[in-house]
């Protein structure tokens, strides 16, 4: 059942051994490695190490195991996200965390390493919620396997989740298993007029109303929401919503949500200013200092700000609300600014210890996450 | 659970019972969740699972000190754990066996002896208890504060219904209740009168024996049990339908007569019969048509089910239904399954824990500002009344409230 559904576009090619050899020689030479998939998120995080020692994953591709009734897919890390999603689509399934695809070369390994999830995330979980297992090359140059293809697995430490958003600094992901979800029978999107405050108030009110929400966004006086489910569920939701407000159906909704997911929306196209991602507790109100140009997602848990305010001010304001600011894109406008928030010293120490133990020769994407990590 | 009891113990009846109980326990720890003392102290030794382990040690011949005895003493015997236990461990029976062995092998300090003897020699004896209470009331200013608060105000006796019906039931008057709150049984007689039942109090009967049994004076307890059986027997032969109890602690004890006297050749049979006849007043009323008892002055009530009723006798939801049917509104009570800390003589022997539990219980009962708190056991009633100005009464009084 498993392999006949693999589209011919996915080449079945296992180069684990070559990759391992390159890692081993890098360990032997203590030569830092730049791990590269589709180069779609090169801008994200700290600058990659300057080296010609590049570990290319894009030729390590293929579906290792996919049985739709098990709701799991196991795939080689260099497989393109685009191809994987097409395969799932054919089987009426999806990746519920809707990761961004900044270019078509984007690989699933890179998706995991960067750990960025898309519009559906606040409603159906992130990559770390969906990952079940990884096979990787570790700092000893060994191929090791953690987790697996079953939903519940607590044997040993959770190395699979640790790889999510580690930016390739803990090892090279070779293969990974992800939980997939049934594709919603139907999706429709609504649009309505709302100030930012009204938009947040709506989102708050919907949180406990059991609506089949799968995405929300607010931009320039408009609130967008997507509903996913069966005909019956969506009809019931529309009825409930129409009692609370007036709305219109959003045309071209697939295109709209893709533009949010892949940052092709007009908001993201201002290359002239740095782009900040603010991660906030769900109930965060309108933040007075950022009333200018911003775009909200996930009921206000993720807010994008594109402005020239000083790093210090942005981090301080966000910190007061219990959140974090990440300089997502625009390092060139703010040279020297660390993209990721500074960690408490004790926490930083733990992270550094972990990096030292798992990558003793410091060869995996050194400095990509923090200066010394 | 694996056991390895001493041969000398294994051959006794107690030993065999203990062994079979211990082997049922799978050590899951569910019991600790609903144990009042574990909740407060957080020590495995202060929860049923730990106490079972301690008892196991004793019966397996390990050397024990007063520490083990203290842990067992701190158990309220509320039997909440038995309700929780999915494996069906009869904890209270095991505890009794364990306590007996430890009492034999350890020596209590003089002060503890004195208090326990004092309790044993007064509480079960109506006249002595009445005397001390009267003295206490007159000289209350001279008593230590802790004890002063324990002396309740005097309560009028209330009228006993004189009506004669063909249906007759006996009531246990007991020891402490007729002195502290003689109005409960007289009220019960008037309630039953309305249902066409005459309630008969046999003056000769006395304490049910629970106080002695729980303070490890088995022999004394058995004497009291037999005394009561003898006192009731002629009426039972004459056709009394039931032995009604209005103090759930005593009710539980009488329901256990069968077990306590099972090896007594002379009384075993009678005890078994007495135990089947024994019913809490709620069980009696629930079987009758009580529509005539509905109130015309509905109140908001907080109901405290005594442990001996809900966990011991496993009578749950019955009082609630009767009161709601009769027009009362019952507040939802947090942690209703927990003990109020009265637990017989516990309030005197373990004042600290008892008072902490009492305070917690009152806070939960008073949260929604009830007009009255009702319960079904004299011990709980006085223990709770010490802590509040809201009247605390036996719930049967509400059935006369028109």
């Amino acid at each position: 059942m498993a392999l006949n559904i693999t589209p011919s576009s996915i080449v079945d090619r296992d180069i684990s051994i070559e990759l391992q050899q390159q890692v081993q020689s890098s360990i032997d030479l203590r030569s830092p490695l730049l791990i590269r998939g589709g180069d779609s998120k090169l801008f994200y995080g700290r600058d990659p190490v300057e080296t010609s020692n590049i570990l290319e994953l894009k030729n390590h591709t293929g579906i290792i195991n996919y049985d739709p009734t098990e709701l799991v897919v196991t795939v080689r890390a260099g497989t393109r996200l685009l191809d994987l999603e097409l395969l799932l689509e054919k089987n009426q399934q999806i990746l519920s965390f809707e990761p961004p695809m900044f270019n078509q070369q984007s690989t699933i390994g890179g998706v995991v390493a960067a750990g960025i999830s898309g519009p559906r995330r606040a409603f159906s979980g992130s990559i770390r919620d969906a990952i079940l297992g990884v096979e990787m090359i570790n700092g000893d140059g060994k191929i090791v396997k953690f987790g697996g293809e079953v939903m519940k697995n607590v044997a040993g430490y959770d190395m699979s989740r640790l790889m999510v958003r580690s930016m390739g600094t803990l090892g090279v992901i070779l293969n990974l298993s992800l939980r997939v979800m049934p594709k919603p029978e139907k999706e429709i999107s609504l649009i309505l007029d709302a100030t930012q405050g009204e938009g947040l108030a709506y989102c708050k009110q919907w949180r406990t109303q059991h609506l089949p929400l799968s995405a929300t966004s607010w931009y320039r006086g408009k609130l967008y929401l997507r509903l996913s489910g069966s005909d019956i569920t969506i009809d019931a939701a529309l009825k409930k919503l129409s009692q609370q407000m007036s709305f219109e159906f959003l045309e071209d909704d697939i295109f709209f949500w893709q533009s949010i997911r892949n940052q092709q929306h007009a908001f993201f196209n201002k290359v002239s200013k740095p782009l900040w991602r603010l991660s906030l507790p769900i109930n965060t109100p309108v933040m007075a200092r950022f009333e200018g140009d911003l775009l909200l997602e996930g009921g206000g848990t993720q807010r994008w700000v594109s402005n020239n305010a000083a790093e210090k001010i942005i981090r301080a304001v966000v910190g007061r609300h219990g959140g974090y600011a990440t300089l997502f894109n625009g390092q060139k406008h703010l040279p020297g600014v660390a993209p990721f928030p500074i960690l408490a010293p004790e926490l930083h120490k733990l992270q550094k210890n972990l990096k030292r133990k798992l990558d003793p020769q410091n060869i995996f994407n050194p400095g990509r996450l923090y200066r010394d990590i | 659970m694996k056991t390895n009891l001493l041969d000398s113990i294994k051959q006794t009846k107690d030993g065999q019972l203990a062994d079979s109980i211990l082997r049922k326990c799978v050590h899951c720890g569910f019991c600790n969740a609903t144990c009042p003392t574990y909740q407060i102290l957080g020590d495995e030794n202060e929860g049923p699972r730990g106490r079972i382990y301690l008892i196991k040690q004793v019966l397996e011949g390990a050397e024990v000190s007063n520490a083990t005895r203290d842990h067992l003493d701190r158990c309220l015997t509320c039997r909440n754990c038995e309700t929780t236990c999915p494996s069906g461990v009869q904890y209270a029976s095991l505890l009794e066996i364990g306590k007996k062995h430890i009492e034999e092998s350890t020596e209590r300090p003089f002060k503890e002896h004195f208090v326990r003897d004092a309790l044993l020699n007064t509480l079960p004896y109506r006249r002595r208890f009445k005397f001390f209470l009267r003295v206490g009331r007159s000289f209350s200013l001279f008593l230590p504060k802790a004890l002063r608060s324990k002396i309740p105000a005097k309560v009028a006796k209330g009228k006993w219904s004189r009506a004669q019906h063909s249906r007759r039931m006996l009531v246990l008057d007991g020891c402490v209740q007729p002195v502290l709150s003689p109005d409960i049984n007289s009220a019960t007689s008037r309630v039953l009168d309305k249902l066409g039942i005459t309630l008969v109090n046999i003056k000769k009967a006395g304490c049910c024996g629970a106080v002695s049994q729980h303070l490890n004076k088995e022999k004394d307890a058995q004497t009291m049990m037999k005394h009561n059986i003898d006192a009731w027997w002629p009426e039972i032969e004459a056709g009394a339908e039931a032995i009604v109890t209005t103090a759930s602690g005593c009710g539980l004890m009488i329901k256990d007569y069968a077990q306590y006297l099972q090896d007594d050749p002379e009384y075993a049979e009678k005890a078994r019969f007495i135990s089947t006849l024994c019913k809490d007043i709620a069980e009696i009323i629930a079987l009758e048509d009580y529509s005539a008892l509905a109130t015309t002055a509905p109140k908001t009530i907080s109901w405290h089910p005594p442990c001996t009723l809900q966990h011991g006798q496993k009578v749950t939801g019955v009082v609630e239904k009767i009161l709601i049917d009769c027009g009362y509104q019952l507040n939802p009570i947090k942690d209703a399954h927990l003990c109020c800390g009265s637990a017989g003589t516990y309030s005197i022997l373990q004042p600290e824990l008892s008072s902490q539990l009492g305070d917690n219980k009152i806070a939960n009962l008073e949260k929604d500002k009830p007009e009255m708190i009702v319960t079904a056991n004299i011990g709980c009633q006085t223990h709770l009344q010490e802590r509040t100005k809201t009247p605390v009464k036996h719930w049967v009084h509400l059935l006369l409230d028109r």
Binding site: P68, E70, V72, G115, G125, S126, D140, V144, F146, G148, E149, V150, M151, K152, N153, V154, A155, G156, Y157, D158, R161, L162, S166, P182, R207, T208, H210, G229, T233, A236, S279, P281, N283, Y324, F340, A344, L347, L350, L354, L358, Y370 | K2, C25, V26, H27, C28, G29, F30, N32, A33, G42, E44, R49, Y53, L54, A62, V64, S65, A67, P86
Partner: protein, 489 residues
């Protein structure tokens, strides 16, 4: 590690400075009840039991132990089923039962901040007035504490749809082995740096002491329904699971019990289980009313396709609770039909359930021990309970071997040796089967990053390579000697 009297006296001296007398247990008879957790087959007496109630006390205790190199085993409610809280003979038990305060219910953010000794069920009870609840519900939820849930990454009957502990917590505060207070995770969906919250979850007390947890709360489902399907053949019930999932339905819970388990549970809970059925499936569905009806219809059809001999639906809240009550109490209820049981926890791909059950049955005959099967069928998490009598010489060992065979079978089927109970002490040998020496070394490296002297719950979860070499000598697969590169003794 030092367990001589002198080091014992030194650590006791230090601990006496930190804790009041009644919260530092040192008398032998007081220590005895701490010799095991919910897995009484393994027993050890610790040097002392410390029962602190403040973070500062925990920090002082940890620092004292660290400086004297005394092992520390954290313990919550002691309900674990893998010996995770089994004491270390040269170490102390750090009991967190007194950390039982709910610090803050933030219903607007749908979170609750609690101390680690708060019971799982108490969280949902406290959230109920706001129409919220905490999703993971292990069967021991009445007693088990949230700190232990995090340490074990506890699951429950609803994790098919709502996830495990790791999916339902936002933040934990830990005390490191050096005594530092560190916050992992945050109140937001993204926390910078490595996901140490995920790493800590399920780490079984090996990486730090959990002293505070923030859990996510969910709105209570609008409506739920519980279906109970009876089957004349266990295999049919197993296949029904895959059929239901293949219809695109993710039930809130999908549980299976075989005949022996049905009988034991029925005896305790009077749930109305069919005691003559070979197996039952309990299927809980939830959602908005309309959606629920739709799902019920689909599942009914699926169960029919799967040869269910009967399907009943709970008609009231009480009936639903009743149907679940039997399942939740199924483990200890087995205590009614057998003096001892040994609970396994392997997970396998759903499609192999029937196959695995057949093999377990064959093993049961081989060992001459009965097995009651109770498990989370929806996520392939098996809980075979091997019934035995520890009072009979050799039965415990027989049960252990039997259990080991089952777990190895799970690994062979593409599964894992533990889905939710943890490795603890119990499954150390099976870790050698699931992981090769390189992988175990990788785990040891993680451990050493947090705990270089191996003081936190030492000797659990990750076996030494030597141990595996010895185990390997016993378990030879396909004629190959595993771990041939390790020196053998």
């Amino acid at each position: 590690m030092n367990s001589e009297p002198e080091s014992r006296n030194n650590i006791l001296l230090a601990l006496r400075e930190i804790l009041p007398e009644k919260y530092l247990l040192t008398a032998k008879e007081d220590l005895k009840p701490y010799e095991c957790d919910g897995m009484p087959a393994y027993q050890r007496i610790p040097i002392a039991v410390a029962l602190p109630s403040t973070i500062e006390e925990v920090q002082k205790i940890i620092r004292a132990c660290e400086s004297q190199r005394i092992p520390v085993v954290a313990r919550g409610a002691g309900t674990g089923l893998s010996g995770g809280a089994l004491p270390h003979e040269g170490g102390i038990i750090l009991g967190l039962s007194r950390f039982n305060t709910i610090i803050d219910i933030d219903h607007e953010n749908m979170t609750m901040r609690v101390q680690p000794g708060v019971r799982n069920l108490a969280i949902s009870e406290a959230a109920a007035p706001y129409g919220l609840y905490y999703a993971p519900d292990p069967s021991s939820q009445i007693a088990c504490t949230i700190g232990g849930n995090v340490a074990e990454n506890a699951g429950g009957v609803h994790c098919l749809k709502y996830g495990l502990t790791v999916h339902n917590i936002l933040e934990v505060k830990i005390i490191t082995v050096e005594g530092d207070l560190v916050t992992l995770g945050s109140m937001t969906l993204d926390t910078p740096g490595y996901d140490l919250l995920a790493l800590m979850t399920g780490s079984e007390g090996m990486l730090g002491i959990i002293v505070e947890v923030v859990v996510k709360l969910l709105p209570r489902p609008l409506a739920t329904n519980v279906l109970m399907a009876s089957f004349d053949a266990v295999e049919d019930a197993a296949n029904a699971v895959a059929i239901v999932i293949s219809k695109g339905i993710i039930p809130a819970g999908l549980e299976m019990m075989d005949n022996l388990a049905i009988k034991a549970a029925e005896d305790f809970a009077n749930a109305g289980y069919p005691v003559d059925a070979e197996a039952i499936l309990l299927c809980e569905l939830d959602g908005a009313e309309e959606h629920l009806a739709e799902q019920v219809n689909i599942v009914m059809v699926a169960l029919g396709e799967a040869n269910a001999s009967n399907v009943v639906m709970a008609n009231s809240e009480q009936e639903k609770a009743q149907l679940w009550a039997g399942r939740k109490a199924a483990f200890p209820a087995v205590g009614r039909i057998s003096p001892d049981y040994y609970c396994m926890d392997g997970t396998i791909p759903r499609k192999r359930i029937a196959e695995v059950l057949v093999e377990i049955k064959a093993l049961s005959e081989k060992y001459g021990l009965r097995v009651a099967n109770v498990f989370h069928a929806g996520d392939g998490n098996l809980h075979p309970l091997i019934l035995f009598d520890a009072g009979i010489d050799g039965e415990l060992e027989k049960a252990e071997h039997f259990g080991g065979d089952i777990l190895e079978l799970c690994v062979k089927m593409g599964g894992t040796i533990t889905g939710e109970h943890g490795v603890g002490f119990e499954k150390l040998d099976q870790m050698c089967v699931q992981f090769n020496p390189d992988e175990l070394t990788h785990f040891h490296n993680i451990k050493h990053a947090f705990d270089p002297y191996e003081l936190l719950n030492p000797g659990k979860v990750i076996p030494t390579l030597h141990r595996c070499a010895e185990v390997g000598a016993m378990h030879v697969h396909n004629g190959e000697l595993p771990h041939a590169d390790i020196p053998r003794f």
